[in-house]
Symmetry: C2
Subunit: 438 residues, 2 copies
Amino acid sequence: MPHDKKNTRGSDLPHIVIIGCGFGGIQAAKALHGKACRITLIDRTNHHLFQPLLYQVATAGLASPAIAAPIRHIFRKQANVCVLLNEVDRIDVREERVFFRDNTPLAYDALIVATGASHSYFGRDDWATHAPGLKTLSDAMIIRQRMLQAFELAELRAFERPDTPQPSLNFVVIGAGPTGVEMAGTFAEIARHTLKREFRHIDPSQARVLLLEGGPKVLASFSDDLSAKAMTQLQALGVDVMLNARVTDVRSGLVQVAHTAPGAAPCNELITSDCTVWAAGVQASSLGQCLGVALDRAGRVPVTAQLAVDGLPAVFVIGDLAAATSNGKHVPGVSPAAKQMGRVAAHNALASIEGRPLKAFEYVDYGSLATIGRKSAIAQIGPVKLSGLPAWLFWLFVHIFFLIGFKNRLLVMAEWAWSYVTLARSARVYWRSDSADR
Amino acid sequence: MPHDKKNTRGSDLPHIVIIGCGFGGIQAAKALHGKACRITLIDRTNHHLFQPLLYQVATAGLASPAIAAPIRHIFRKQANVCVLLNEVDRIDVREERVFFRDNTPLAYDALIVATGASHSYFGRDDWATHAPGLKTLSDAMIIRQRMLQAFELAELRAFERPDTPQPSLNFVVIGAGPTGVEMAGTFAEIARHTLKREFRHIDPSQARVLLLEGGPKVLASFSDDLSAKAMTQLQALGVDVMLNARVTDVRSGLVQVAHTAPGAAPCNELITSDCTVWAAGVQASSLGQCLGVALDRAGRVPVTAQLAVDGLPAVFVIGDLAAATSNGKHVPGVSPAAKQMGRVAAHNALASIEGRPLKAFEYVDYGSLATIGRKSAIAQIGPVKLSGLPAWLFWLFVHIFFLIGFKNRLLVMAEWAWSYVTLARSARVYWRSDSADR
């Protein structure tokens, strides 16, 4: 059996295994640049995804390669990193080995688990087909196809029935967190601006964009006044926001909602939907279940101040999979936090092998940002609160700055500059995955 | 029933139906700009594809949206065009109606059929799964995924068996026409240059790229001396060209070849393949069978000098679906020919309705071009023959010039300039189409 024993690969250097190439995993591997260790970096896709802009791929504003960098390419000059495209099935913490799906084991001296989170349908996984979430490029391509197809099908129906009124065209986004707000705002812009003059039998601006939120406000993690400003900006874009609207069923073309506003009588509503997007819940990666500790409600792994797992000094958990605290507060599931954890976990992984003291993780909060649409956003940076155009310009700057890879940054900037001037979207293309069908 | 009678849509203008939005169909619709007619333009995808650069999408050099323009967007300012995303199932030439897949009829006053061609496996359609062809974006994404996966799987195998020699890694391209030559040349460049330093357990430059050609030369439509130059350039790029090698079977991971060089004893060879691409045969669209005339061997429709079908004065056939002649010579299946036919068919369609005289089609041959790889190409422009860097620069200029849409042109140029300097490829990204699997 290969890799069954420690350090068998022609080197006595300590072996650090990192699972997951999101912001946390990538940063952990980078932090070990030049260190005396072997790193095996494992992901089930071939790319690192700049997830904050994934909604732009889903809404046809950017092509997939603009926000995805091949992991191998990122680490081509870091000789101590070996990238493997594979899927880890389970972790044996007692034997200190991970197992791939084909049951091949891989021993580690220290392990960093950074496998993040995916959508949660609160036990209703049958909703997934009708209301895809947005975590991967594959998800984004499905949503892009459904969005574009909804307009095409409406035109086709109107063409075939010229003497009837325009068929209804509803886009329903479930959940008013950052992703839901971005998606709803962009759908509204596309219907009102991008597609102007392109259809002959329907008026795309008559499409209705609904944003359903179970709680009493949008962007609940922000202060009440910023949340209220976001609400105003959404409405100005033409989004129909329903607060206290709990989704009780999702079927093909239909979303059922229970209105639960305090003080009002509860009532149910059945909404037809031509394109439904799920942005309501996340569930941490199932690999957390292998670590032998009690998980929190969202499936996250509680970690020590050093980001280790209680009782497992060589196992570190970071990013959206970790339930970490800093200065007595929960660390939010955002990319700056994942990156910061990555750097600390990398240090601690090597230190734990070499018997050196570990660092405690301290989260540095640079602020919060959420974008709503072109020229609309809200931001809280320390005591400073921004909204509207200034917040949007700040958001634009931050996102272009952090996009991995110099070329991507330039290209994305060019695409955006273009779409800002013309209101066009450059990636309004989809194709069926089944070539035989074509 | 809608559209069952002529000109029922609130207008007495003549109705011209165009099926297919390749170079021919797009050009035909554009040629009718400002004319007193209603045009219905039908395609089963939402985009017009710049097919000459499709091999760049398949080999991860360009993102899909860079070579695909939404058809609707192209015609947003041409008010007499109505674009329909739909699939025509059959044509009733006696009743002058086309039928969609759901059996909805659409009457026409004149019809232009421009549905092109797809791969032909010479009756062995079971080969399609193992050796995809390259006609659509969907095809390109399948090939891109298989190409990138082949390298990833080789690395994984080498990682798991560190003490064995590097596993073989074969890319097999079947057919040495323009597409086959482009694909083989680019595969060789990727293996030798793009992936340098990115793998730790395999040497990608050890990959073997085989180009199998049943006939005695590559790029058979060119003169013998240019074809020989292309052969030399392919070999310089590291492509293993096998001439007189007829494929007799294609299975998962295997290609069987019969060597039939004149003078030598025939023999069979079984070649393992980690990524197989079919570029050997084309078959015209099956809609040609609805027109009641005898088709040629490739399924093409013989057309009159006016591009009409014998006995059907209101039906015109153009592009790869048409078996047209000009000055006694067959018109080749290339994009300039399709565009020229599109313009003539548009004129004749309207003239046939209005009872005016029709134009005869005369093909203007601007020359032939084939690219082999970076800095390698061959070109024949009138009496001038070019090869190597001058031919490649000419190819680059022509292709950027003709890319539809100003923005695409700029972006594609930027991508190319970048990849020319860095040898990197910007779209090395794939994703599974099934999100549940992720």
